[in-house]
């Protein structure tokens, strides 16, 4: 069998399981794991898998597109990790090995186990509900006691094992908490489920009319859904963070004191060592530039797109790209202390804090169940002790209380509004990522924006394309195509098919490009680099970035660029202000650029040059002053701030981590989804409050009646379902009202 696998390396396996299988089938096979970060197009899967599987010795390759991880089964000592990396590199993919054994994995099995329990609870709840509805309608018509009893026993047969199995996560957590003499949110849940099942089982034996297995199973089903989604969210965040860690340059070239160079794993770098970083490579550690100057793409840290010129002695950070020539960096901090590590740590810290909201939501739901049982128990004891009508009647009254107070209306009050609101947002291209995000968003009074990539599109725009003569434009674009500088890239893309016979091509960091074209010298870049005379250079009042182009002795040509703001940025900020929100701008960009953006967009309060931890502490200080903050950001440098804020929104163009951290992710080039989300959240919140009022009103009237023994279980059941219906109908107004408004706006 193993031979077959080896003889047909072109055959891609069907799933990861078969990669593992292929491994198990032969002792000569082993599995390698790689993170492929930029595999983000549909055809990437096929390209990557086919090219890696074609390597000699590789019997199977499978890319998990969700986690961006590639598993490769290869023959021992056949093709090396470097071969695979080189193969992927040739196609433009950046791959890094990772060791699953070293990862702090959230147990995969535990997630599957939860999903399985959820399935069991759903199956049981559906079937028991089917039987219960029959019994309820039978009570109103002519169902015989024997048939009813049969239905009850069937319900018990399904419900008891299902509750025992599906409820295990809650029971386990509740027992652990009680053992520590604490109460957590699972204790009342476990109690409610056990009690209602116990009573129902007793009533089944006694042949009573109504049982509550359905209630217990529904409760478990909905709680398990919440728990599973929460877990998935956490898993995605962890996976993203781990991929990020694996992607950090894994080795560095160290210059020894005697001038010799050797490769050194990053973990072994010590402060004071000197590291060489080649052009276009990732800087592996935090440190100081040893000599000369460098052009560094700091967008990972500051979010700013234009490369930063760094002089000798200046700080450079791990994860940033060296766009200029080779540089030497003096290691300042060891791997653990690097800034990227700091960002990841900040994120983890902020994430732990977030759990509180989930706990609070769960606890509210959990409070109601014991209250129901205490009320029912009080009714039972009260009637039994104080009235002459006997135990059976007392029990019936207690049952009526139990049904009347079935937390359906209350339980529906929040989730149904959520479901409608989330569906509404989804149709408008806004993805809601956290369950209580709407709730938190509705209370927001301050909006903090990031600049680059959020208010502005991440690429600058060429302003004066029409003014430039086509021949120079094409030649400049051809030259620009050889550079990774953001301005050059925009210029090259403005004339995509420009290719010219260029020789002696050279790029000088911080200055520009030069080449030889048909015997003439051509230059693109900084005005001094192109020897532009000063009066020409200062002409006009363009404040944005610019590029100069000089072709031989002809007049220099000036390319003007402008930071391109999202089309509706000004209107959205205006609208936010008119909604009574305070708007702040927080950017890692340089001061002049931020001031210009703030003036243009009408934002009064702004801060420039903010590092990730400064963003976090700024938001924390706002929160300390009792503001509720909405953070809108997209970069890695915003990730921690997104988590620190009360609520957060990211554009879909944002880096993975930010999207994972954000409560909402919106598609498209417009900012108006932010307004839409805010309005929906506020409307949803007021509907939730209305629903709560409705549910409480219902309980306030019906519960005393039931306690007084004026309600039979059947009437109680009808009252209970109509209160649920009322709440549901009220929630549907979220859709209706908004449509009217839209029509109004359209007129």
């Amino acid at each position: 069998m193993a031979d077959v696998v080896l003889q047909r390396p072109d055959l891609a396996p069907l799933d990861e399981a078969s990669v593992r299988e292929a491994k198990a089938q032969s002792e000569h096979l082993e599995t390698l794991y790689l993170v492929v970060a930029n595999a983000s197009c549909p055809s990437c899967i096929e390209k990557i898998e086919a090219s890696v599987a074609a390597l000699p010795g590789v019997s199977a390759a499978r890319l998990n597109y969700s986690t961006r991880r590639l598993s490769v089964a290869r023959k021992l000592n056949s093709c090396s990790l470097e071969d695979i990396q080189a193969c992927l590199d040739a196609q433009g993919y950046r791959a890094a090995p990772f060791d699953p054994a070293r990862q702090v994995q959230l147990d995969e099995r535990e997630a599957k186990d939860l999903l399985w329990r959820l399935a069991i609870a759903g199956f049981a709840a559906a079937n028991v509900m089917l039987l219960s509805v029959s019994v309820w309608s039978g009570l109103a018509s002519d169902m015989g006691t024997a048939t009813r009893s049969l239905f009850h026993w069937l319900s018990a047969l399904i419900a008891v094992p299902a509750v025992l199995y599906a409820g295990v996560p809650f029971f386990r957590s509740a027992v652990a908490a009680v053992k520590k003499r604490q109460l957590n949110m699972d204790v009342p849940i476990a109690l409610a489920v056990t009690l209602s099942c116990g009573i129902s089982f007793y009533r089944t034996i006694a042949g009573e009319a109504l049982i509550y297995f359905d209630a217990a199973l529904m409760l478990l089903f909905f709680l398990l859904i919440g728990r599973y989604l929460d877990r998935q969210m956490r898993r995605r965040a962890t996976t993203t963070a781990q991929n990020l860690l694996a992607l950090r340059a894994s080795s560095a070239v160290v210059v020894e004191t005697d001038g010799q160079r050797r490769n050194c794993p990053i973990q072994e770098l010590k402060p004071g060592m000197k590291v060489v970083v080649a052009s276009g490579e990732c800087i592996p550690v935090d440190g100081d530039l040893a000599a000369g100057f460098a052009e560094v793409d700091m967008s990972l840290i500051t979010g700013e797109s234009a490369p930063q010129i760094t002089k000798a002695g200046d700080e450079v950070f791990a994860g940033t790209l060296n766009l200029g020539g080779p540089i030497e960096v003096l290691v300042r901090a060891s791997d653990e202390d690097t800034l990227l590590g700091e960002i990841i740590r900040l994120m983890e810290l902020a994430e732990q804090r977030r759990g509180r909201y989930v706990v609070m939501a769960d606890r509210l739901a959990g409070y109601y169940a014991p209250l129901v049982h205490i009320l029912a128990l009080a009714t039972l004891i009260g009637w039994w002790a104080l009235s002459q009508s006997g135990f059976e009647a007392a029990l019936m009254n207690a049952v009526a209380v139990l049904i009347i107070t079935c937390p359906c209306a209350l339980g529906l009050a929040v989730p149904i509004v959520q479901v409608i609101a989330v569906g509404r947002l989804l149709r408008r291209g806004i993805l809601t990522k956290s369950g209580d995000g709407l709730e938190r968003l509705a209370k927001v009074d301050t909006v903090v924006f990031d600049k680059t990539g959020t208010l502005s599109l991440s690429r600058p725009r060429l302003l004066n394309a029409e003014e430039i003569d086509p021949a120079s434009f094409t030649l400049a674009a051809a030259l620009a195509g050889h550079s990774r500088h953001p301005l050059s890239r925009v210029l090259a893309e403005a004339r995509p098919s420009s290719t010219k016979e260029l020789s002696n091509l050279q790029e000088v960091p911080g200055a520009g490009l030069t080449a030889n074209y048909l015997g003439e010298d051509i230059r693109l870049g900084h005005p001094t680099w192109c020897a532009v005379p000063r009066p020409l250079r200062d002409a006009g009042d363009h404040a944005g970035p610019e590029l100069w182009f000089r072709w031989g002795q002809r007049d220099p040509v000036r390319f003007l660029f402008e930071e391109d703001f999202r089309a509706d940025a000004i209107e959205v900020i205006e609208a936010l202000k008119s909604m009574g929100l305070q708007v702040e701008l927080l950017s890692g960009d340089r001061e002049s650029a931020v001031r210009r953006a703030a003036n243009r967009l009408g934002i009064d309060s702004w801060r420039a040059g903010q590092r990730p931890n400064e963003k976090v502490s700024f938001i924390a200080s706002l929160r300390n002053r009792r503001h509720r903050v909405l953070m809108v950001g997209d970069g890695l440098n915003d990730a921690a701030a997104l988590t620190e804020a009360n609520a957060s929104i990211s554009p879909a163009s944002a880096i993975d981590v930010s999207q994972t951290m954000a409560d909402f992710v919106f598609q498209g080039d417009n900012l108006s989804p932010i307004l839409e989300t805010l309005r929906t959240a506020r409307r949803a919140q007021s509907l939730v409050v209305q629903n709560f009022v409705l549910a409480f009103l219902y309980n306030a009237i019906a519960v005393p009646l039931a306690i007084c023994g004026l309600v039979t279980p059947l009437i109680a059941a009808i009252a209970m379902s109509s209160s649920s219906l009322l709440v549901s109908l009220n929630s549907l107004r979220l859709n209706r009202r908004r449509r009217e408004k839209a029509v109004y706006a359209w007129r």
């Binding site: 399981a17 969700s66 015989g144």
Partner: protein
Amino acid sequence: MTGLAYLIPAALVLGLFGLLAFCWALRSGQFDDLDGAAHRIFEDKDEPL
């Protein structure tokens, strides 16, 4: 009422089928890579026989 004798088992068995199908899907890794599955449908590959 005799209809119940086969209607109830039928309902339960159908539900059970769904549950087993889900169990199979879970075990065979159908949920491992949900995003990837959406893209793999575009793969245009002729399997060698």
